[in-house]
Structures are given as C-alpha cells and as structure tokens.
Amino acid sequence: MRSFNAFLDRAVGRDLACGLLFSGIALVGFINVSGNTMLMNTLGRGPDPGPALLPLTVLSFMLLGGSLLLLKGLAGWALHSRRTAEQTPPQNNVPFGRHTHAVALFVSLLALPSVVTSLGFLPATWLFATPWLIWLEYRRCHRLRRALLLGIMTAALLSLALYLIFITLLGVAL
C-alpha cells in the first residue's frame, strides 16, 4: 500500500493513473453509446446532428487525451525504471493510513441512507455521528472518558440541530 501512495505521488504514476482513468471512462462511454441502437440511429439523419454527435465527439477527445497521458506515463516509467536500476530505490515515505479515515467515512455514509429508512432520521444520524466523534476526539486528546462524553453529547446536538433545521423547519420528508 505504501508503494501505491509513492506511485501516485510521482509525476509518472499520476500520468499513468490519469491516462487509465480517462481512457477507461472513454471506453465505457463508447461501449454504452454504441450499444444504444436508438441513439446510434439518430446519427446522420437530416440537418439535426442528433443526440449522439456530442457524446461521440467528447468521448473521442477523452480517449485521445487519456491515451496520450498513458503513453507519456509509460515513457516516463521506462526511463524511471532504467534510472532506478542504476541508483538506489526511492523511499516510500507516504503512509497509506492517510486514506483509511476517508474510506471508512465514505463506507459509513453509503450505509446511512438505508439506516435512516429503517430506523428514522434522528436515531440513524446519532448512531452514525457518535462513534465517529468518539474516535476522532480520542485520537485528538487520548482520554477515553472525555472522548466518550463529548462524542455522545456532540452527536446528539448535531443530530437534533439537523432534525430541527431540515425536518421541522424546512419540512423535508425523511
């Protein structure tokens, strides 16, 4: 995982990753457009270029740009590997742990809508916020009792504030 971070931190790695990303999006787009017969049938019919023209133009541009970035990355990689074979390898000093919080928060947020549907807004948001606030407070102060107390109270206040603003005041049906 450390090497993944070091890879992204290097310009060569970024070029390769960006190239793959844009080429990948373009390929998925092309497959989707070409598989849509209704859309493809609109091409070249009368003066209106149809709804397929712009998607195909944008996808072609994206594929070209992505491929060029990929080529640039591959060329840089080839040069880089030749150089590193002669010199000592670089230190991978960026910890992967910097992404764990982001990934964990994202996953818990993905689960939140279904918890809200089954438990209701107030308990679900409180259940979401409490462990997060306890953990983040503990990480800051390293005192468990303080983290527990502050986490539970702040989560309750946050959930209540959001409930009052969105559900009571703005009438959002949650």
Binding site: A17, D48, P51, L69, A102, L112, P113, L136, R140, L170
Partner: protein, 505 residues
C-alpha cells in the same frame, strides 16, 4: 431607472423581517465558516445551498450572497490570527496579517481587512451594476453559433485557469460534459448514459454534484489531519480598542488600487480571487516607499489584497449574469441555486426578469453592509470560532451533505449521486486533478449541445454557419490558442535558452 429599482428591492428586503433574518443568518454563517480552516467559500456555499431550496428565489439568492460575501471576509480571520487562510483568496493576507498579529496588532489587522473588504465589495458591485446590463444587451444580439462558441471558450478558459495542466483540466471538463448528457435528450427523448438505472433517467443535477465535489470531497480530504490542534494565538491582541477612523481612511489609495484590480481581474472568467490578490499584493509592494516591510507586517499588504479579494466577487458575477458562464467554482455553485429556482443566468435574465436582477444587486449590497456591521460588532468574539474542533465540524458537514442532497427532490438517488461525486472529488485530489472543471462541464454542456444542434439546424446541417459569424470564429480561435499555448510554451523557452547558449559560445 436602475437606481429606482435597486432602491425598491433594497427597501423591500429591509422591510421584510424574514428576508432580513435570513441575511443576518447567512452573514453569520458565512463569517464563521469562512474563518474555519479547511472550509472554503465554495464549500460553505455548497453545504448551505440545500437550505435555500424552500425559499423564494430572491431570498435564496440573498441568503447565499450573504454567505458568499461574509465567507470571503471570514477567510482573513484565520489567515491573520493563525497563519492559515480560511479561503484561497486570503492566501496573501496571511503574509503581512499574521506578522501584524504576532506584533500584538491583530485587532488592527482584522479591522483593516474588514474595511478594505467592504470598500472592495462596493466597488465590485458598482462595476457589476454598470457593466452587466451593457454586456447583456450586446449578448442579446448573439445567436446560436455565438453561444456555442461562448460555451466552448468558457470551458477552455475555465480549464486553462484551473490548477494543473490545461489538458488535464479539459479532460475533467469533458467528464463534466458527459455528466450533463446523462438522462433523456430533450429533443428526441432518447436516453443517454443511464445504464438502465432509473435514478439516472432524470439526469444529474448540479446541486448534488457540487455538494459532493466541493463539500464531501473536502471532508474526506481533511479528515485524516483533523486531530491536529489549531495553532495558538494571542487572544488579548484581538480585544484591543478599534483603530481611529482617520488612520483607516489614510489607506484609501491601497483600498482603491486593490478594489479596481480585483474587480477587473475577477471579471475574467476563471481568473478568480487568488490571481487578483496576488496582483494586488505585487502592486502594493511596487507603490510602497518601504517595500522591505512587506512580509513583516505592512498594513498595505493586508488592505490591498483584502480589497481585491472582495471586489473580485462583483467581477466574477459579470460573466455569470451576462453570458451564463460561471466566473469560478463559487459562481458555479451559485448558478446551481438559480437553476434550481428555474432562473437561467444569461442575457435573457435581464429581459425576462429585471426585478430579480435588481434584487440580486440589492442583496449583494445588503450582504456587504451586514458583513461590515456584524464583523465590527462581533470582532471581539469572532476569534473564538477558531477554537471549534475541526473533527466535529467535518462530521457535521458530512451529515449536512447527505441531508442536503436528499432535500433537493426528496430522492435517495440524489444522495447516492452526491456520495459518488464526493468519491470522484477525492480521486481527483489524489491524482492532482482540478475538480472545478467537472462542475463547469455540467453547466456548459447543455448550453453547448443545445446551441450546437440549433446552429446546425439553422445551417441545414452545414458547419459553414460558424464561418459566417466573426465573433464565433474569434472565440474558437482564442480557445485553440488557450489549448496550444501551454503545449508550446516549454518548447519556446527551450528554444530561447538554446539561442542564448549558441550566442554565448
């Protein structure tokens, strides 16, 4: 006529207790969020955007303008006190603001920043009021080919000015264009990029995209470092009496210079406040009799950039109001609010909804006035905001993003779209790609496609229709130049160096 409708709108807002309350609330939230490190003006606006859905369009834009204007000033509080700019526009303020605070002159620096912000804001507003109707009347003569070219030029320019390379910015913009095509085509009713998912059939709304891209992605980015304590600062120096008015007025030249620079630079699509403040700072240094003081607590180093930062708001609103092209990421979010209320910014807004345009001017003026009044009244307590633990704020914002995305259409699909773009924003950050062109692409995509197809229909399928429009050809030429220039610039530099080397030998 213009002053009459402006005054009527201003008085109507002042006479409405609900409108006034929203304006005060927006200003307070804007100052607090702007002051918090890690919460940019764009993020503040994106997370508060869903609150404005249930409001009348005039009140919604008033609330958001108050957040926008106040957050710009709020950004200078953390820049001065803890040397961390709250917003990108305050990046230069910290250079001299923080040394002033360390020298026990924090209150003085905060007051200078506030007054300069207010003066700059008024000048930016004046430029907007004077130039926007003129530009709109010119733009009203534009037809589909010109609007196609404007959309292309806007997209290229916005990608050009984004951090990183132009090509990468353009590719992110292209992803935004594709996002704008999701759903049913308005003319033929053929579906595009829906992947047989019902949630995508209605298309991708700008608001969940902005909330995810500028709100949630920032939370994901900042969460790892949220355990770090806020740097300490001398609270005593923020509790001193206000400096006298004559001393403040003595800085009029710096305020005016900064204001004009900010307003004109801000009016260039994509130039934004960060470029405006850098130019204003450089100019202040050039005009100063003691340039050596810059970086060590020169008051002009705070006044000029802060005036430029605030005046650029008026400037960035010009392309948005007159051409429907967002001036920067913040105006893109603001456009989202207008679109959700059925108001399409552009020249037709002046013809079809002049009352709304006047209420926007009045709202902007009120936002400046309230920022000045609330800023002065609460200056003693505002530094306490910096004591709010960042992790509490980040979890609160994450929840706000989810609830806010749902509140748009009471649809869970919008929540998942917001979460998706939050993840996309984080991936873009990891790859050092600019996120803003994605929003620009989504805004300009429908404008581009609609006008491109209409142009070709007018030209009976022939692309020659563009050749007959000198404005369109000029804009296409400039777009091409903006793409080619960054590719050729390194070659040009290398050629110059080679020539120099040959001459030396």
């Amino acid at each position: 006529m213009l002053i009459d409708s402006f005054l009527t709108s201003l008085l109507a807002t002042l006479a409405s207790p609900w409108g006034l309350m929203l304006a005060v609330l927006g200003t307070l939230l804007g100052i607090v969020l702007g002051a918090l490190p890690g919460v940019s003006s764009t993020m503040a606006l994106a997370i508060l955007l869903p609150l404005s859905f249930g409001m009348d369009p005039a009140f919604a834009i008033l609330f958001l303008l108050c957040v926008f204007v106040a957050s710009v000033y709020g950004g200078s509080i953390s820049a001065i006190l803890i040397n961390i700019p709250g917003t990108p526009g305050a990046i230069v303020t910290q250079l001299d603001g923080h040394p002033l605070a360390r020298a026990g002159r924090a209150k003085e620096a905060l007051v200078y920043a506030l007054i300069a912000s207010s003066v700059g804001g008024v000048i930016g507003l004046a430029l907007l009021v004077v130039t926007a109707p003129m530009l709109a009347s010119i733009a009203m003569r534009f037809k589909s080919p010109e609007f196609t070219a404007i959309a292309v030029f806007g997209l290229v320019l916005l990608a050009y000015a984004s951090p990183g390379s132009t090509v990468r910015g353009l590719l992110v913009g292209a992803v935004g264009l594709l996002c704008g095509m999701v759903g049913f085509d308005a003319l033929t009713d053929v579906s595009r990029f829906t992947f047989d998912t019902r949630g995508l059939q209605g298309g991708i709304e700008l608001v969940p995209l902005c909330v995810g891209l500028f709100g949630l992605a920032e939370v994901l980015r900042n969460l790892h470092g949220s355990h770090r304590a806020t740097p300490e600062f001398d609270m005593q120096s923020t509790q001193l009496p206000l400096p006298n008015l004559r001393t403040i007025a003595g800085r009029w030249a710096s305020m005016l210079r900064g204001s004009f620079i900010g307003a004109f630079v801000g009016a260039i699509p994509a130039a934004g406040s960060a470029i405006a403040v850098a130019i204003a700072y450089a100019q202040e240094m050039r005009f100063s009799r003691h340039p050596e003081r810059f970086g060590h607590g020169a008051v002009e180093g705070v006044v000029g950039p802060e005036a430029a930062n605030s005046s650029s708001i008026g400037g960035t609103l010009i392309p948005m109001m007159t051409l429907g092209v967002p001036g920067d990421a913040i105006t893109a979010v603001l456009m989202g609010s207008l679109l959700i209320h059925g108001l399409r910014p552009g020249p037709m807004l002046f013809a079809e909804n002049p009352g709304f345009v006047s209420s926007l001017y009045a709202g902007f003026f009120l936002a400046l006035l309230l920022t000045l009044v609330i800023g002065l009244l609460l200056m003693r307590w505002l530094p306490w905001v910096l004591r709010i633990p960042s992790h509490t704020l980040l979890i609160g914002i994450a929840l706000l993003c989810v609830v806010g995305a749902y509140a748009i259409r009471s649809s869970m699909a919008d929540v998942y779209i917001m979460l998706f773009f939050g993840a996309v924003g984080y991936v873009l950050y990891l790859l050092s790609l600019p996120a803003a062109p994605l929003a620009f692409g989504l805004i300009l995509g429908p404008l581009l496609e609609e006008n491109l197809r209409r142009s070709l229909l007018l030209g009976r399928g022939s692309w020659e229709v563009f050749l007959h429009s000198p404005i369109a050809m000029g804009l296409f030429g400039l777009s091409l130049l903006a793409i080619i220039l960054p590719l050729l610039a390194p070659l040009w530099v290398r050629l110059g160096n080679d020539i120099k080397r040959v001459r030396m030998h």
